[in-house]
C-alpha cells in the first residue's frame, strides 16, 4: 500500500493511500463530530480528489449506517465505501436479530473489527456518531490502524491538523445544539480555508431522538473570518 516513496514531501503518510504508475488516489478531507446533550452534530467538507484533480466537488461523506447512526469517512474512497457498505449490512442484520435499534458502540465496534483486521490493506479513518436509547448521543473515532475510542468531540482527515487548536480552545462541555452547529461549521470552514485538499460545501447532520436533520452550507454562505 505505501509504495509511493517518490511522492511529494509535503503530504504526510496519512494522506497518501496508494500510487498507480500515473495517478495517486489520495482522498483528503476534514471531518468532525461533537456530542451534545440529546444527540450529536456531524460535519464534513465535500471534496474528493484523484491527484490534483477534484473528482467530486459535492461528495457526501456523512454516510448513514442505520436510522440514527452515521459515519464520517476519510481516507481512500474505495476502502471507506466498501467498509461502510459491509458494516451497514452487518448492523442491519444484527438489528433485525435483536428486534430493536442497535447501539452506536456496536456500530463502532464493527468498524473497528474490520479496520483492525485488515489494517495493512486498508486506508480508512472513520468517525462513528449517533444516538441510542441507552447512552444518548455518542461519538466514537476509529482512525487509521484500527483503534476505537469514545470522545466528546473528534476531528479527522488531512484538514484536521489545522483546527486542533481551534477545537481545543473553543470546545465547552454542555453546549446546546445550535452552539454545536455553529462550532462545527466554523471549525470546518477554517480547515477548508487552509487545507488545499478540503473544500466545496459544508455538510452537517444532527442526530437525536427525533431523527436526523441534514443541512448544506454553500461556499458563499460559510462564516467569514479574516478579510485579508
Amino acid at each position: 500500500l505505501a509504495k509511493c516513496t517518490f511522492f511529494i514531501s509535503h503530504l504526510t503518510f496519512s494522506d497518501i493511500l496508494y500510487c498507480d504508475e500515473n495517478v495517486c488516489v489520495c482522498v483528503q478531507t476534514t471531518i468532525m463530530a461533537v456530542e451534545f446533550d440529546g444527540g450529536v452534530v456531524m460535519g464534513a467538507d465535500s471534496r474528493t480528489t484523484t491527484g490534483a484533480y477534484i473528482a467530486n466537488r459535492v461528495t457526501d461523506k456523512l454516510t448513514p449506517i442505520h436510522e440514527r447512526i452515521f459515519c464520517c469517512r476519510s481516507g481512500s474512497a474505495a476502502d471507506t465505501q466498501a467498509i461502510a457498505d459491509a458494516v451497514t449490512y452487518q448492523l442491519g442484520f444484527h438489528s433485525i436479530e435483536l428486534d430493536e435499534a442497535p447501539l452506536v458502540q456496536t456500530a463502532a465496534s464493527l468498524f473497528r473489527d474490520m479496520c483492525y483486521r485488515y489494517r495493512e490493506e486498508l486506508m480508512a479513518g472513520i468517525i462513528v456518531a449517533g444516538w441510542d436509547r441507552r447512552r444518548g448521543g455518542q461519538v466514537y473515532t476509529v482512525p487509521v490502524g484500527g483503534m476505537m475510542t469514545r470522545q466528546p468531540v473528534s476531528v479527522g482527515g488531512s484538514g484536521s491538523s489545522y483546527i486542533y487548536g481551534f477545537v481545543d480552545s473553543n470546545y465547552k462541555p454542555a453546549m446546546s445544539k445550535e452552539e454545536c452547529l455553529k462550532f462545527t461549521a466554523e471549525a470546518l470552514t477554517l480547515a477548508m480555508e487552509r487545507d488545499g485538499s478540503s473544500g466545496g460545501v459544508v455538510r452537517l447532520a444532527v442526530i437525536s431522538e427525533q431523527g436526523v436533520e441534514r443541512q448544506v452550507i454553500l461556499g458563499n454562505q460559510l462564516p467569514k473570518f479574516s478579510t485579508v
Partner: protein, 280 residues
C-alpha cells in the same frame, strides 16, 4: 453461523483474490528491461466518456479511439457497453477489462432480473460493479460511467478502478475528462430537454477529442429514457479521413532504363517432402 442469502448465482470466491501472478509480473517487468525488451503494452482506451441526467432520462457519450501506447489500435471501437435493456455503461481504461467486466455484470444482472422478475435497477448494477472492482483492489483497470432509467427514475454513477463510486447529475472519465468536465461545468443545467442534453454531451466529447491526444475519431451517443434506448453510433463523425487530391502512381517507362543485367541463380533441390491435403 450466519449465512448470507443471495439472489444471484454469482460464483463464490473463497479466500479473496490470489495476487501471485501480480508478483510474478512485477518481477518479469523488472527483468525484461535489463534484457533490452519492453513488455507488451496493454491496449488502453485513452478516452473521453461522459454522462448527463436530463429531464426524461440519461445521455451517455463516448469517443471511439483505442490506443496501444502511442499507436491508434482501433479507429472506431465501441465504448458504450450494454448492461441491460435499460442500463448502459461507458468504459475507460484497459479495453479488455472494461469489456469483460461489463459483460460479466450484464450476465449476472440478467440472471438476477429473471430471479426477481423485475427490470434491473441501476443501483444494483453499481453495487455489483463496485464490489467486483474492490475485490480486485484496482488491478482491473476499468473506469466506468454507468447510466440508466429504472422504476426510481434516471440515475448516473461514475465508478473508479479501485471500487469507489459517485452518484452525480453529470460525470466525465478518461484522459479527456478534464476537457469534457470544463464544458459541463459551463453549460450544465438541471432538467434539460433531450436535444440540449445531446448537444451538451456531443460538445463535451468533442472537447475531449480535439484537446486530448488519447481520444479521437467519432462521437457515440446513447440516449436512455423510460422504455426506449437510442444507441446512436456514430452520432457525429467528427474526424473524416481526408480525400487525396492527386495520385502518386507513375506510368511504366517514366524512369529511363540505362543498363540491364540478368544473373541466373543456380539452385539445386536438397530435400523434397510432400504433404497430402486432406480433401475428405
Amino acid at each position: 453461523r450466519r449465512i448470507m442469502a443471495t439472489v444471484s448465482v454469482c460464483k463464490y470466491y473463497p479466500g479473496g483474490f490470489s495476487f501471485d501472478n501480480c508478483k510474478r509480473n512485477a518481477l518479469l517487468e523488472a527483468d525484461i528491461s535489463k534484457l533490452g525488451f519492453s513488455s507488451p503494452a496493454a491496449r488502453k482506451t485513452g478516452t473521453t466518456i461522459c454522462g448527463v441526467v436530463y429531464k426524461d432520462g440519461v445521455v451517455l457519450g463516448a469517443d471511439t479511439r483505442a490506443t496501444e501506447g502511442m499507436i491508434v489500435a482501433d479507429k472506431n471501437c465501441s465504448k458504450i457497453h450494454y448492461i441491460s435493456p435499460n442500463i448502459y455503461c461507458c468504459g475507460a481504461g484497459t479495453a479488455a477489462d472494461t469489456e469483460m467486466t461489463t459483460q460479466i455484470i450484464s450476465s449476472n444482472l440478467e440472471l438476477h432480473s429473471l430471479s426477481t422478475g423485475r427490470l434491473p435497477r441501476v443501483a444494483t448494477a453499481n453495487r455489483m460493479l463496485k464490489q467486483m472492482l474492490f475485490r480486485y483492489q484496482g488491478y482491473i483497470g476499468a473506469a466506468l460511467v454507468l447510466g440508466g432509467v429504472d422504476c426510481n427514475g434516471p440515475h448516473l454513477y461514475s465508478i473508479y478502478p479501485h471500487g469507489s463510486t459517485d452518484k452525480l447529475p453529470y460525470v466525465t472519465m478518461g484522459s479527456g475528462s478534464l476537457a469534457a468536465m470544463a464544458v459541463f461545468e459551463d453549460r450544465y443545467r438541471p432538467n434539460m430537454e433531450e436535444e440540449e442534453a445531446k448537444r451538451l454531451v456531443r460538445d463535451a466529447i468533442a472537447a475531449g477529442i480535439f484537446n486530448d491526444l488519447g481520444s479521437g475519431s467519432n462521437i457515440d451517443l446513447c440516449v436512455i429514457t423510460k422504455g426506449k434506448v437510442d444507441y446512436l453510433r456514430p452520432h457525429d463523425v467528427a474526424n473524416k479521413k481526408g480525400v487525396r487530391t492527386g495520385s502518386y502512381r507513375y506510368k511504366h517507362g517514366t524512369t529511363g532504363v540505362l543498363t540491364k543485367t540478368v544473373t541466373p541463380l543456380n539452385l539445386e533441390v536438397v530435400e523434397e517432402s510432400v504433404q497430402t491435403m486432406d480433401t475428405s
